[in-house]
């Protein structure tokens, strides 16, 4: 915590700002990348959103009051950036958010940065059937290994609510995969 405060202070100061930013990027780039990638699926899109996220963090660090942890604040920005990115794509192509996701899944097969097979593609199809918040909870718990307490801070939802949401998500995904015979 003290380390985080020192980092925030350095980011807010004029001296050592660049060094502090480099530090921040180094600490969070991978975690935030995978979080974003699980949402947008494509590497180039994830890279764009990740850069936008860090630029937002850098530009708005002065408005970070420390009411929440720095990583919680950054995860919220990353989540919001990914959602905004997909909404804009939907609007631009005159399609729904669900269709944006469907197209991203269809493109996985030819994606050079995807090494999964039919099972992994079907898993993405199963995740896409969930409501948006449940998708987030599932990805963050199952793939990103967050604790319920961390999720509770980031998503501002009670631990009990998250447990039940995750349980329902796993149940739905399992049922989807069973009915689509990928086991």
């Amino acid at each position: 915590m003290a380390q985080e405060q020192a980092l925030v202070s350095a980011l807010k100061s004029d001296m050592n700002k660049e060094e502090a930013f480099r530090n921040l990027v180094s600490q969070y780039k991978e975690r935030l990348y995978w979080h974003i990638r699980n949402m947008v699926l494509n590497h180039d899109d994830a890279d764009d959103v990740l850069q936008n996220t860090f630029i937002k963090v850098f530009r708005n660090i002065d408005s970070f009051k420390g009411d929440s942890k720095l990583y919680t604040w950054m995860y919220r920005i990353a989540t919001n950036e990914a959602i905004t990115f997909m909404n804009k794509r939907a609007k631009r192509n005159n399609i729904t958010l669900e269709e944006v996701k469907e197209r991203a899944i269809e493109n996985l097969e030819s994606d050079v940065y995807f090494e999964g097979g039919a099972i992994e593609i079907n898993l993405q199809r199963a995740i896409a059937t969930l409501p948006e918040k449940q998708q987030l909870v599932f990805n963050m718990k199952y793939f990103e290994d967050h604790t319920y307490e961390e999720l509770s801070e980031i998503l501002e939802t009670s631990v009990g609510g998250l447990k039940s949401s995750y349980h329902i998500a796993v149940k739905k995904i399992t049922a989807y995969l069973k009915s689509n015979e990928t086991f």
Binding site: Q51, K56, R76, K91, Y113, E120, L123, L177
Partner: protein, 164 residues
């Protein structure tokens, strides 16, 4: 069946057996799911990321160059006038009595939007003085809710609003 007594003195955490079946079922379901999502990144992507980010920050922080040489404005204005005159002529034929007023605003707007003038809306705005911009009024009933929503989605930065 007789309930087994805890004779070892070891105690599980409180509430451990509550919902044990549910937790067990969840574990079984999780175990049957693929362990990886199949995503990978280009070689050394993370190794180079800090450097790219520092460059991106430097670029976005660089002050925008504002030209003090406003003479360009004259040529833009001249180009607009000449092009509009040409459009009017082509639309209506030479020798017609129709004037520039007969050209619909939407046709002009579409022509400019499609790059017919070689300038964009930012260049046009740059030609206006602040008073001109302040004097611009658009009747609210001419903007549909859908257009407004589309504009906000395309142009408003939700994350910045959230941060603020």
């Amino acid at each position: 069946m007789e309930e087994k007594k805890n004779i070892s003195g070891l105690q599980p955490p409180e509430g451990y057996f509550e919902n044990f079946e549910d937790r067990m079922m969840l574990k079984v379901m999780e175990d049957s799911l693929p362990k990886s999502n199949g995503f990978k990144v280009p070689e050394d992507y993370f190794g180079q990321f800090e450097g790219r980010m520092i460059d991106a920050i430097s670029e976005t922080d660089a002050p925008k160059v504002v030209s003090l040489f406003r003479k360009q404005a004259f040529w833009y204005a001249a180009a607009i006038a000449a092009s509009l005159a040409l459009i009017v002529s082509l639309y209506n034929g030479f020798g017609s009595e129709l004037s520039i007023e007969d050209l619909s605003a939407s046709a002009v707007e579409e022509y400019i939007d499609e790059g017919g003038m070689g300038i964009d809306s930012y260049d046009v705005i740059a030609l206006l003085e602040e008073e001109d911009i302040n004097e611009l009024t658009i009747p609210s009933d001419e903007i549909s809710e859908e257009s407004l929503e589309n504009y906000l989605i395309e142009n408003i930065d939700e994350t910045s609003l959230l941060i603020e």
